[in-house]
């Protein structure tokens, strides 16, 4: 194995290369484009045997990806944010075809207002599509997750497409040391895809995407998707064991960091979880028993693992880098649902919304989240959801609004 500095985008491209992806339908969007550019260069230089096609939209790109996967070739593609939403119709469709492929999503906040920076509303919009989801926190995890994703998607008991999610900027453009698996090792873990008897051939046509009416057949097909996704929990567990045996790197459905003896636990997704780990280390030094639980696998949802990890805790602080408008943090709802009625469920499951549109979460904020959550447990009062937003930020916002309104001499209130 070679240890080298790679961006998250570079790691994603290496994942596709090590997986020997055969087909790459592509459409550019920031902050994902570098993945496609890297692969295009390798294909052009003859370093990678893959057919690349540029499509005219993400909708077509995902259609092409699904159609190609149905023929039994290994398909890789990537998108982000607005692009993911533009292709949303085909996410549900392709998952319904029961074809395996791996798509990277580089998380980026959604318009309006438009931004380039990261949050998880894009990937969570795809939550119910039938694509399984692996969420990454480091560049190392990205390359490993791509291999694990193919292995999961192609398993005959699963046969669903998988999205590997990485955060824009904080992973996509950030270089970190990455240990690249050798090609032989990747080949051993991920043999050539065998589509089995269902594969489409020119001489053996099949009709995909049949129409059904009456509800019964529809319920059957959708619920079969659901059962396959649930079966993926056990398949992934086996794959993780095997991958850990080969590489020494374990990627259980949940990452639990100093969580065993923790009283207060942070729960969050994505790359900011490494910041939470740094905060946990500092809090431990100050004598406060805090830990972190990070779902890597979001779909299927590792509900039993979460119950085991969080039952008996004094309090949980769910930090959502997303916002379901009119509800609140998406993960908070999911965690609360998983723990409801469970014996030993933490009495306090507090909700914090932070990191929207690339907004930083500082070490001090993690300390404060831990402190407020612990105090809530003492008082028994569950605090209302808290947006991480400071007085200083509002003052800066008011300045922008004053500029936006100055021409018509409209009044803007103070912070």
């Amino acid at each position: 194995m070679t240890r080298t500095l790679l961006t998250g985008n570079g790691a994603a491209a290496w994942g596709a290369r090590l997986a020997r992806a055969d087909y790459l339908p592509a459409f550019p969007i920031t902050p994902q484009t570098e993945i496609i550019e890297t692969l295009a260069r390798w294909i052009d230089m003859g370093e990678m045997d893959c057919r690349m096609a540029t499509l005219e939209s993400e909708h077509s790109m995902i259609t092409a990806a699904g159609a190609a996967a149905a023929t039994g070739v290994r398909v890789f593609t990537a998108t982000s944010s607005q692009g993911l939403l533009y292709g949303m119709e085909m996410l549900y469709t392709v998952a319904g075809w029961r074809v395996p492929l791996v798509m990277i999503n580089v998380s980026r906040g959604l318009a309006a207002p438009i931004t380039l920076e990261t949050d998880h509303n894009d990937i969570l919009a795809a939550r119910d599509s039938g694509f399984l989801q692996l969420h990454c926190a480091t560049c190392q995890e990205v390359v490993d997750a791509v291999l694990l994703a193919y292995r999961l998607a192609e398993d005959p008991a699963v046969r669903l497409p998988v999205i590997v999610n990485l955060d824009g900027f904080h992973l996509s453009f950030t270089r970190e040391p990455v240990e690249l698996p050798d090609g032989d090792l990747a080949d051993r873990f991920l043999p050539t895809f065998d589509p089995g008897p269902g594969e489409i051939r020119a001489g053996k046509p099949t009709s995909q995407a049949v129409a059904v009416l009456g509800g019964g057949p529809y319920s059957y097909f959708r619920y079969e998707c659901h059962l396959a996704a649930l079966a993926a929990l056990e398949v992934h567990r086996r794959n993780v064991d095997e991958y850990a045996g080969l590489t020494g790197r374990r990627y259980d459905a949940l990452e639990c960091y100093r969580a065993d003896d923790a009283e207060v636990v942070f729960v969050m997704l994505g790359s900011f979880a490494t910041k939470a780990k740094a905060a946990v280390d500092q809090l431990r030094q100050a004598g406060r028993p805090v830990g972190l639980v990070r779902p890597r696998l979001l779909r299927p949802f590792p509900e039993a693992d979460l119950r085991r990890a969080l039952a008996g805790k004094v309090a949980v602080a769910v930090i959502d880098q997303n916002l379901s408008i009119g509800k609140g943090g998406v993960l908070h709802g999911e965690i609360s649902g998983a723990l409801h009625g469970v014996s030993g469920a933490p009495p306090v499951i507090a909700s914090f919304i932070g990191g929207l549109g690339g907004r930083d979460i500082t070490a001090e904020e993690f300390f404060e989240i831990a402190g407020q959550t612990a105090r809530a447990a003492e008082s028994g009062q569950v605090p209302p959801p808290r947006l991480l937003y400071t007085l200083h930020e509002l003052a800066e916002m008011r300045k922008l609004q004053a500029i936006a309104h100055v021409e018509r001499q409209e009044e803007v209130p103070g912070p």
């Binding site: 270089r175 970190e176 280390d281 070490a363 007085l391 936006a404």
Partner: protein, 312 residues
Amino acid sequence: MYRIRFHGRGGQGMKTASRILGSAFFLSGFEVQDAPRYGAERRGAPIFAFVRAGRAAILERGNIDRPDLVVVADDTLVAIPGAGVLAGLHADSVLLLVTTVPADDWQQRLNTTGTVLTLPPPGGSERDPALLSALCAGAAARLTGAIEREALIRAVDEELALYPADTIAANRAGALAGFDALAVAAGRVGESGAVAADGYDAPDWIDLPADGVGLAAPTIHAGATSVEVRTGLWRTMRPVIDLEKCHRCTWVCGTFCPDGVIGVDAERYPVIDYDHCKGCMICLAQCPTHAIAAITERQGREADIAAEGEQA
């Protein structure tokens, strides 16, 4: 951990500088994280890039709030608040400016007693931003005192592996020039610790007020606001039309201009709106009579000042 920020304009190679320094640290046995940070991906817009390096795995991410070293490749950025060049500088931080203005003057202008170091811009640097990036990387490497010459050279070679040999040689020389120029301050930049969980400053979180839609929608209540944003300030290279050579075709340069800033005057000569020209030089590449030349923005400003003097 070392926490280092590079500031410059898009095109001046600060991402490259951060990667050369990051690789040099990595080759010296450090755990490393480096990343560029930008909004509008345009030549000349303020960007920054950062490097973290330490002996243990790096868990921090994103903005560096309290830098140990800030390197500024373009001194015109200091006066632009949005560039955030000075953000988070503390008593032990070092500020390194690429500038012709002496360090004492900067200390006075910035009203700081902190360490300010300066480096003269490399000769003709504006024509070759790559040299500026290598210079900054080399200077930063020396300031940490943690990187040897060999690691710096190898980092340059790795970062520029896809470039021709003479470009690599020039960048090696640039990096070493920065490395040697800061010999007097070798090791001046130290590592700093993480914020401790006891005795921290609590964030002043507030409950957002529910504002009316007139305020809360992301709208600028005025028309044609983009005209007011002088994106010409981003320019590092300036296209100049030689009217002797111009055939007054009236369309090629203006049609290819991606920003639509080349108009035509009453005599059918093209006129560049320098308030909004970002200096992409597509007009130069397209002009069939080769009537458009490129000068550095510094040369352009000097010519402007001379012309104003003549008028006065």
